[in-house]
């Protein structure tokens, strides 16, 4: 049983116009086995939270803390966080030139486990996970994300989730750009890992449709760098009906 704890997190970025505060005091606790959904309008800071957890150098933590089982996550480098069990399925996975999927997956697995995976079982695991996510076998020989469609990139993120088995997964809009079939396939991929009972999930989304497949225990509404409201799954249904309007300043209402 692990706990990821975010306390009063303030995060800013350097822009050409100077320092810009994006997260304005976020607190959130996730435990193994729990699924937390974060929902919020565009630009509210959801990806900023995700990237800050993963340690992207662009985001500056001004105050607050992130700890995992008491360990200070903010002091860890990006790769140390991953090895500690944090996984970020990115909203926009980058294309990495020159590195095949096969090579990448094996190198990452070796780094995460501290030893090379047994070749035979590993190859079998990769093949199986790929076929369950309906990823063509020839993707293994292609460079990481290079020329993959938006939906293919998302499947490959979930492929990694399944193979790396993190303690905590942050999924940043994994649902966007997926058609219904792909959404199901990807959700099932997450749920397979969830069912092991050894992972906590922070699911970031703009829409409620993914919540039909991945059932959250908690829903947090994210507005302007803060959690504006929290509740159970019923909160998602309400957002589905009412949208985010009631959380937005009157002037910004559409």
């Amino acid at each position: 049983m692990s706990t990821l704890e975010i306390k009063d997190l303030h995060v800013s970025i350097e822009t050409e116009q100077g320092n810009k505060e994006i997260l304005k005091g976020v607190s959130l606790t996730i435990k193994t086995g729990e699924i937390h959904a974060i929902m919020g309008p565009n630009g509210s800071g959801k990806s900023t939270l995700a990237s800050t957890i993963a340690g992207h150098p662009r985001y500056i933590v001004d105050s607050g803390s992130i700890t995992m089982d008491g360990e200070n996550v903010l002091e860890m480098s990006v790769d140390e966080r991953a090895r500690a069990g944090l996984f970020l399925a990115m909203q926009y996975p980058v294309e990495v030139p020159g590195v095949t999927m096969t090579n990448f997956l094996r190198t990452a697995k070796t780094a995460l486990d501290g030893e090379a995976p047994k070749l035979r079982t590993w190859t079998k695991d990769v093949k199986e996970a790929m076929s369950q996510l309906r990823i063509d076998a020839d993707f293994a020989q292609r460079n990481v994300n290079e020329g993959f469609s938006g939906g293919e990139k998302k499947r490959v993120e979930i492929l990694q989730l399944e193979l790396f088995k993190p303690k905590f997964a942050v999924m940043d809009e994994t649902d966007s750009g997926l058609d219904v079939d792909a959404l199901k396939v990807v959700s099932e991929g997450h749920n397979r890992v969830h069912e092991t009972g050894e992972m906590g999930t922070l699911l970031i989304t703009h829409y409620t449709r993914i919540l039909r497949y991945i059932k959250p225990d908690f829903v947090h509404v994210f507005v302007d760098g803060r959690i504006a409201e929290e509740g159970g799954p019923e909160l998602a249904d309400r957002l589905e009906e009412e949208g985010y309007d009631r959380f937005l300043p009157t002037a910004a209402k559409a």
Partner: protein, 427 residues
């Protein structure tokens, strides 16, 4: 990956710009042609000037240096080369001591049985059998060399181990060198030209690939940091012959390799590969030419380069000419560069000239990508430490070429050399 890509795939014959007779698209690289397009300019990454090329078919060739005008640096084929750093190769008589030549087996092992190695004078009949200078520096070497090394793979012989030609420099005076490689009819061999030490040398390598022969020539430039090397490597490819040429440029201050393959008999096949890795201040240039002069030949070109450090500069120019007679040609050329740090510049210019519409296919591609913080973040977010992540990318990128060499000992050495480059650049 910040990527600038251009691809063109030409199938016969209904293409814009083609006439029944076939039209020469390239001479002026018209901006509206499907071969030039908007990206004709963007092929020079970091500010090359888009000077229109004149047809490669019309380029002056001569054994006499005085036939070539004195270089100004504005010539199409010298515009990327820093002439000042040629250390007199283009202005002085090349009278210095040429690098030594030793013919061995792979990696210095015993010379394989069955081949012939001769040192001959200028009047030997094989001199001039496969090449003629196409620029002033090459002509200067042709005029200046006093003796040449001729390596012959006898007809119908198959040489199982690689033949190594070690070229070792020990003088900085401008010098000239001449090497002839003859693969007689139906012979099969791999020849590795291995350049080391310090030198200022203009070199002509003639490669005569006779009918039905299967020859691989690998030219490795692992010079000391101060070396200056201009190398014209011209191959004449016979009927139904196979020729594979690999350029590996790693060490030297200025290395300019100009390989060419002339397909003058039908049924031949040419592959040209290149791998280069430029560090801070290095200038590594490769200009290749594939001349399809007869029907039904095939050519494939792939060069890949990595660059890191301030003023690391690489140049790749790929001239492919499909002449009017060369119906049924199948040709593709590509250049891929990976920039690993700021301050490096990769110029990449594919030139495809097609004079007949009756071809199997012809195309080119050029990409220059940059390894940046987002790539690093992605790999590190999967637990991979920074150093491993950087190396993973470069190794993977260059391996595609190393695997083409198919001389295990050499592959290993080049893999190590790439690792050293990475380590030296603190990458």
């Amino acid at each position: 990956m910040t990527e600038i890509t251009e691809k063109a795939r030409i199938g016969a014959p209904a293409i814009d710009g083609f006439t029944e007779e076939g039209e020469n698209l390239s001479p002026a690289n018209p901006d509206n042609s499907p071969l030039a397009g908007a990206s004709a300019k963007s092929h020079s990454h970091g500010g090359g000037v888009g000077v229109p090329d004149s047809s490669r078919a019309g380029r002056l060739t001569s054994y006499k240096v005085e036939d070539f005008p004195v270089l100004t640096g504005r010539e199409e084929d010298w515009r990327f080369t820093p002439l000042k750093r040629l250390r007199g190769l283009h202005t002085q008589a090349l009278t210095g001591a040429a690098p030594s030549v030793a013919v061995t087996g792979p990696e210095g092992a015993e010379r394989p049985a069955g081949i012939t190695v001769e040192t001959v004078g200028r009047d030997d009949s094989r001199i001039g059998s496969a090449g003629i200078p196409e620029d002033r520096v090459s002509a200067a070497a042709w005029e200046a060399f006093s003796e040449a090394t001729v390596v012959t793979i006898p007809a119908e012989s198959s040489i199982e181990t690689a033949v190594g030609i070690s070229v070792t420099g020990s003088s900085k005076d401008p010098s000239a060198q001449h090497i002839v490689i003859v693969a007689e009819k139906f012979s099969k061999a791999v020849v590795v030209l291995d350049h080391k030490g310090s030198a200022t040398v203009s070199q002509n390598v003639e490669i005569d690939v006779q009918d039905g022969a299967d020859l691989t020539v690998v030219s490795v430039q692992e010079w000391d940091d101060d070396a200056v090397h201009a190398s014209s490597q011209q191959a004449k490819v016979g009927r139904d012959a196979k020729f594979k040429h690999v350029v590996v440029s790693l060490g030297g201050d200025l290395v300019r390799v100009t390989p060419s393959a002339r397909l003058k008999q039908t049924g031949s096949e040419v592959e040209m590969f290149g791998l280069y890795f430029a560090d801070a201040g290095q200038h590594l240039e490769q200009r290749l030419f594939v001349d399809h002069a007869v029907p039904n030949c095939k050519s494939r070109v792939l060069y890949k380069g990595a660059l890191q450090g301030e003023n690391a500069h690489t140049v790749w120019v790929g001239d492919v000419l499909i002449r009017k007679e060369a119906e049924g040609t199948d040709s593709y050329e590509a250049n891929r560069n990976l920039i690993l740090s700021d301050g490096a510049r990769a110029d990449s210019v594919p030139n495809l000239e097609i004079e007949t519409g009756l071809i199997e296919g012809a195309g080119h591609a050029s990409t220059t990508g940059r390894f940046d913080d987002e790539h690093l973040f992605y790999l590190m977010a999967r637990g991979i430490d920074e150093k491993t992540a950087r190396r993973l990318v470069v190794r993977g990128f260059l391996n595609e070429i190393i695997q083409q060499i198919k001389v295990p000992a050499l592959e290993e050495r080049l893999t190590d050399a790439v690792e050293r480059e990475l380590a030296a650049g603190n990458f």
